[in-house]
Amino acid sequence: MLRMNAQPFSVAALKAGLSTNGSMAVKFSKKLTSDVQRSSSSRRTFLKTSAFGLASLAAPAVLGVRKASAAEPLVVASFGGSWAAAMTEAFHKPFTEETGIEVIVTDGADLAKAKAQVQTGKIEWDIVELATGWLSSGDREGLWEEVDTSVVDVTGTAEGSQYKNAIGHCTYSGCFAWNSEKFGEGKHPANWIDFWNTDKFPGRRGMMTRITGNLEYALMADGVSPKDLYPLDVERGFAALDRIKEHVNIWVNAMPQTVSMLQNDEVDFCSSAIGRVYAAQKAGIPLDYSKEMALIETGKIAILKGSSKKDAAMQHLAFAMRPDRQLAFAEIIGYAPTKLEGIAAMPDHLKALNPDPESPMNAFNNEFWWEPRLLELTKRFKEWQLS
């Protein structure tokens, strides 16, 4: 809670924070405290230590990170939650074991904060996990280091999954979900065309408060073939959105919330991401998701421009491109690898979980189509929401 208060301007991060227990920040400050305590145990040091420990608990985790740079650990800005836990298990821990380079995960990855760090030259993060649109927006602002392909092996990967300034280490997909106890076979929409068909499938709808994704879903619902989405027909998309607008009860701000909205019976059918639903299913929550017309996207990581630990960070990126690590990540959280070798080695239950990128019924997100239009379309979407 303390940490959440420290960043009141980031609703998405706050909401994501709800699903975590803040264990990383706590663990980290404990580590700091013990480091300082080791040096001496006089009363004064003790006082300093406890103050320091308290401060790093109360302040955002980032604040303390800079102080610890003597040991040169890599700082990864993450979305937090089950995602960060899986990243730690699959990539960070084994990376530390192999290279001896420590990795500190800090929640609250945020594009505005990344920009502030680059602008002021006070770099606190080395590696940033990228949400949709951050790679292209950050490219425009010059926030990312170029991926050094002599260190990072990006060969043998799914088409379109690698970028100049970021690696794609997994794929995840947008879908919609429902309560499987409430809506059995045939009672729920199966794809976006059904989702839009409120006569045949009455029920409260939930969608994300953003234009990216929604426009693609609207076009697929309107009959555009998933493989021919781009360039998006904006007018047609908004016209389709007009038809669903009154049936959407809740516009969700943050992805983790989509699951709780369904769990709390606030909505019947809610736009979500497959990995979130998978995690909920594993936790015993009776949810199911649409397997047609998925919007597949790459999970990306980039190095923040000006990081003093660029070489170690590049090593980390290389590590994240190892098929075995990507497979381990998939086992934990369900998101498929980008390395073809890893994709081929996926066990059947993971293959069934992930939509087939080759299928004509699934679409690939193209954030570079969005980049030059994102601002204008996001504004238009906000206006559309208000009218």
Binding site: P8, D110, S137, N264, L374, T378, E383, Q385, L386
Partner: protein, 281 residues
């Protein structure tokens, strides 16, 4: 030695204000100055950002929203807080302390935590709807819409409105009421002719506090509101975090500051005038 300011002797105790002044300048005025600068300077001085903001339909819609939500929240808070303050002012001192602690309780919780608590209380399967369900009353939608925003804001604002009213009620000379009573005035007449007019400075001060805070509300609208409940602070967040356009974000922030400032000026002048009137009565 006497310190003088504009020829007037200044108490040496004024020096104690120095740390607070430095603090305010360093962590409030300086960043504020930076925001103002950023709204004018992108590549050289220009009004471009203001042209953009003032030329966009989005801004006017959000501005209108903000005003409607703020006025509504302030009015609802007034209606709820006045009877509470009235009741509180008529309690014996010890019980009054207990009640005041109860009123202050929400202050001890962050507004964020409160917003989450409201999700549990107001949701489709929340406490209120469960109780309604037991009484066979159909569910009501109290959250993710305007109603949710107003409930969340009013809950936060009540102490800000209650205490100024309470103070002005407490300051009233009870003899005035006793005299009116002796002269044969009924309870309602006493209230409308004496108690209410005398408490107007408190009412105005409370409204001012509530109004100014409402204009900058952010979390409540984001967490408890629906698609039509975007407020100016949310718009600033949108420009800052979603589209990284800090110049425009700064321009919106400066416009919000101007709006808040003018409300303060207008209502404050009015409240000040009423205050003097209260004293002369």
């Amino acid at each position: 030695m006497t310190i003088r300011f504009r020829g007037q002797p200044v108490s040496p105790f004024m020096l104690f204000l120095l740390p607070a002044t430095i603090f305010t300048v360093a962590i409030f005025l300086a960043p504020l100055g930076a925001v103002v600068m950023r709204s004018f300077f992108d590549q050289g001085f220009s009004f471009d950002k203001y042209h953009e903001v003032l030329g966009s339909k989005l801004f006017y819609k959000v501005l209108w929203n903000t005003i409607v939500i703020s006025v509504t929240a302030t009015c609802v808070t007034l209606v709820l807080a006045y009877p509470m303050a009235y009741h509180l002012a008529r309690q014996p001192a010890r019980r009054r302390t207990l009640y005041m602690i109860m009123i202050m309780l929400p202050f001890w919780t962050s507004i964020l935590v409160k917003s989450y608590a409201f999700m549990i209380i107001l949701g489709q399967n929340g406490i209120i709807n469960s109780v309604l369900g037991m009484a066979d009353i159909p569910k009501v939608t109290l959250i993710y819409n305007r109603v949710g925003v107003i409930i969340g804001m009013v809950h936060f604002l009540i102490p800000f409105v209650l205490f100024p009213i309470f103070t002005s009620l407490l300051q009233q000379n009870p003899n005035l009421r006793n005299a009116a009573d002796t002269m044969g005035a009924g309870r309602w007449r006493i209230f409308f002719r004496i108690t209410l007019p005398l408490s107007m400075p408190g009412v105005l001060a409370g409204s001012l506090l509530a109004m100014i805070q409402s204009l900058g509300f952010f979390i409540t609208a984001a967490l408890l509101g629906g698609r039509g409940d975007l407020m100016i602070a949310n718009l600033i967040d949108f420009y800052t975090r979603e589209v990284l356009d800090w110049g425009t974000a700064s321009a919106v922030a400066v416009l919000l500051l101007l709006l808040t400032g003018s409300v303060l000026l207008v209502l404050g002048r009015f409240a000040g005038g009423m205050g003097r009137m209260g004293k002369t009565l």
